[in-house]
Amino acid sequence: MLKLNSKIPGGPLEQKWETHKFNLKLVNPANKRKYTVIVVGTGLAGASASASLAEMGYQVKAFCFQDSPRRAHSIAAQGGINAAKNYPNDGDSVYRLFYDTIKGGDFRAREANVYRLAQVSNNIIDQCVAQGVPFAREYGGLLDNRSFGGAQVSRTFYARGQTGQQLLLGAYSAMMRQVGLGAIQMFNRREMLELVLVDGAARGIVTRNLMTGQIESHVADAVVLATGGYGNVFYLSTNAKGSNATAVWKAYKKGAAFANPCFTQIHPTCIPVSGDHQSKLTLMSESLRNDGRVWVPKKQGDNRPPSQIPNEDRDYYLERVYPSFGNLAPRDVSSRQAKFRCDEGRGVGESKMAVYLDFRDAIQRLGKDKIAERYGNLFQMYEKITDENPYEVPMRIYPAVHYTMGGLWVDYNLMSNIPGLHVLGEANFSDHGANRLGASALMQGLADGYFVIPYTIGDYLAGSKLPKVDATHDAFRAAEAEATGRLTKLLSIKGGKTVDELHRELGKIMWDHVGMSRNEAGLKKALELIPRVREEFWNNVKVSGEPNLMNPELEKAGRVADFLELGELMARDALERKESCGGHFREESQTEDNEAKRDDANFCYVAAWEYKGDGKAPEMTKETLEFERIHLATRSYK
């Protein structure tokens, strides 16, 4: 059984972080340069952490698998970033952002972590503006805000539909400044294949150079993983093709606990699948629901073109079911509603697996130019993919896998249960509970990287006696041999199915049984089917190409091999959690009107899974969630 200490500081909620910062040990300025920190991943969390740690004086080695750190998938985030600035004077506050986030997560996140997130949210906006991030502004020169799901205030800052891009380029520029100053050593086109522990502490990683195939060891005093989420387990998701779970999975297999793996976010507004060739799904930002209205025809089999269906024959179901939040109901709720409508036979489009997102009324009210200014790039993206003009025809949308709330377990300092291994951003489990609110991922990634890890890592380094280690250490030799052996094995199978074929099989099992709606029979079925695909993978996969050259198939094979293990853990966790909460909907646990029914008496905990060896069942440890301030309530958006 794991011993998990969340290290949540005592004292009143509002003062926990301030008190904690004072109590954290410091590394004096002259000593910082004696420490090396490895940061894996260069998205919002990784880039902001790398830049901030290097500015403080640490030696940073940063890694990404892409050809440039600027390409990490945070770049694709569209809608915005939340902060409790209350610039619109509509009643926002740190406490309200905190409350909305806890409630949005269906009361399955830690109060103290989320409160800190809300506290530092305002610093993030200040920092980004100082870097020259071109947020949207009003004519008076001040920053503009819009609304996002699950909130009744306008607290979302944005840069057209490319907020993630602009924030990431800000963090990337801060990082490149440190590269230029020699404080960060950048390793692009590197994939982390192993985490290396010495005396139980994280002391380095083994990577593959994706250009030359070379296996390399990198030594450090602490390791930070900011490697994103694992949505690609499903094959089709809004993640980038390269987004993967290998780094966190290797850490799990070295003893890091994996928390709440079943908490997956299915985003309600994505462009529907068009055929079997589909390689990924494209998100249409939640911000569109500020002005777009979601509807399906009232009658089944109404095949009239949308423009010929009069208002009285339309069911604006989100406005009908959730009158106070309407089209801005949170993601999990909106996704399930879309599924219900399609299951009722009222879906639209050729596949009938879509609902309309209609801008007709907004265009009439505000004019086409205003809509173009707000969402121009999204409309253009939609048209390129579907060949339909959303200014004239309503968008067709359907839910798709988008984000994973689960991830490696971390304490209040963002350190996993392995000393020295820190986990930031989507890769950890910490702040979003069972459902993340829109525009909160960017906030969390940057909060972790700019404003949390710079304080907490010093406490670890100052408080640890780390022996001097170099890459000739046995632990590194062993990890290199492990990584090389696995690659050799993958290339030697020479079977009959491609990596993509097997990945698609896994994805279908996950979507059918561990997707938007889950039940005991389906989850048990998944637990039967996934090991079969895994076995076939290791006996019948075909990976061509060479080990010592750029070989994208080999990269993909290693990632899919890990998804085939992680998928099973997700199903196991979903089976164990017999309540519905947030994005985890167990059909056995629902109210009469099909809303998620939580079971606080039995499931108000974080499920932290521990690896026990191949072929052995993992063991689950519960971290009970204590709510001191917030009263656990039924989550209602009606």
Binding site: S48, S52, Q66, D67, S68, R70, R71, H73, I75, A76, N123, D126, Q127, V129, A130, Q131, G132, P134, F135, A136, R137, E138, G141, L143, R160, Q162, Q165, Q166, S173, A174, M176, R177, V179, G180, N188, M211, A240, K241, P272, S274, H277, Q278, S279, G349, M381, K384, I385, D387, F451, P454, T498, D500, K542, S544, G545, E546, L549, M550, P552, E553
Partner: protein, 255 residues
């Protein structure tokens, strides 16, 4: 859904190259390609066939497949990112092509972008230009309140237009001189338009342009091929602004 979707049979002439060896074009059939596929999905289909046959699949860079990460980098029928304006390769759809067509696919060609394998090139030179000055020197923490720095909406919008650059390098590949001026000017322009960028304005222009020269990108001769190839619509107006910035920086240099 497009009501006109159908399938195409195409011939591809693809550049194949391993490091340290000369490259060559190899011809591959691409059969039963749905017009709803993106160009990269078509490449996936061709690669699946190659793997099944035990051949080495074609290496190419790609990641987000929604036109924002800047990874994809193919020159299609002589055009970086293909024939459509303001469209990255991943957003180019096969409905743009016709039955029986032969399509030539090459890497982004430039002296500063060495080929790694097949269609994948090394664009790290662009990162090194950014490291030379593509930033505002502001360390984390203690930034003033965001609304203490008002920015006229017109300038914020222009800065955004420049900041939309995805760093793909199509401008370099399109330019007969392999100049990176459009890329460099997008960043110089963004920061020159904003109050936050003023303090380092001159240093930035000098250092980024010096690094561009050091990386052996060619000089700009204002042909405009870069603007035509840019998937994000970055305009040559940014280059005009950059020349002014550079001239001002050079004239005011204190030795």
């Amino acid at each position: 859904m497009s009501t006109t979707h159908k399938s195409l049979n195409l011939t591809l002439k693809v550049w194949r190259q391993k490091p340290g060896a000369p490259g060559r074009f190899v011809t591959y059939p691409a059969r039963n390609i749905s017009t709803d596929m993106s160009f990269l999905e078509m490449m996936d289909v061709v690669n699946q066939d190659l793997i099944k046959k035990g051949d080495d699949p074609i290496a190419f860079d790609h990641d987000c497949r929604e036109g924002i990460c800047g990874s994809c980098s193919m020159t299609i029928n002589g055009n970086p990112h293909g024939p459509d304006r303001e469209t990255a390769t991943c957003q180019l759809h096969m409905r743009r092509f016709t039955e029986g067509e032969t399509i030539t696919v090459e890497p982004f060609r430039a002296r500063s972008f060495p080929v790694i394998k097949d269609l994948a090139v090394d664009r790290a030179a662009l990162d090194r230009i950014m490291a030379a000055g593509g930033f505002v020197s502001v360390s984390t923490g203690n930034a003033q309140d965001a609304n203490n720095i008002p920015v006229a909406k017109e300038n914020a919008d222009l800065a955004f237009d420049a900041a939309a650059c995805i760093g793909c390098g199509a401008c370099v590949a399109a330019c007969k001189n392999a100049s990176a001026m459009l890329f460099v000017s997008a960043k110089i322009s963004q920061l020159a338009l904003l109050p936050q960028g003023q303090v380092e304005r001159e240093r930035r222009a000098r250092n980024m342009i010096a690094q561009m020269d050091k990386e052996k990108f060619g000089n700009c001769t204002n042909t405009g091929a870069c603007e035509a190839a840019c998937p994000k619509g970055i305009t040559m107006e940014n280059m005009a602004r950059t020349y002014r910035e550079f001239l001002k920086a050079e004239l005011s240099k204190r030795h």
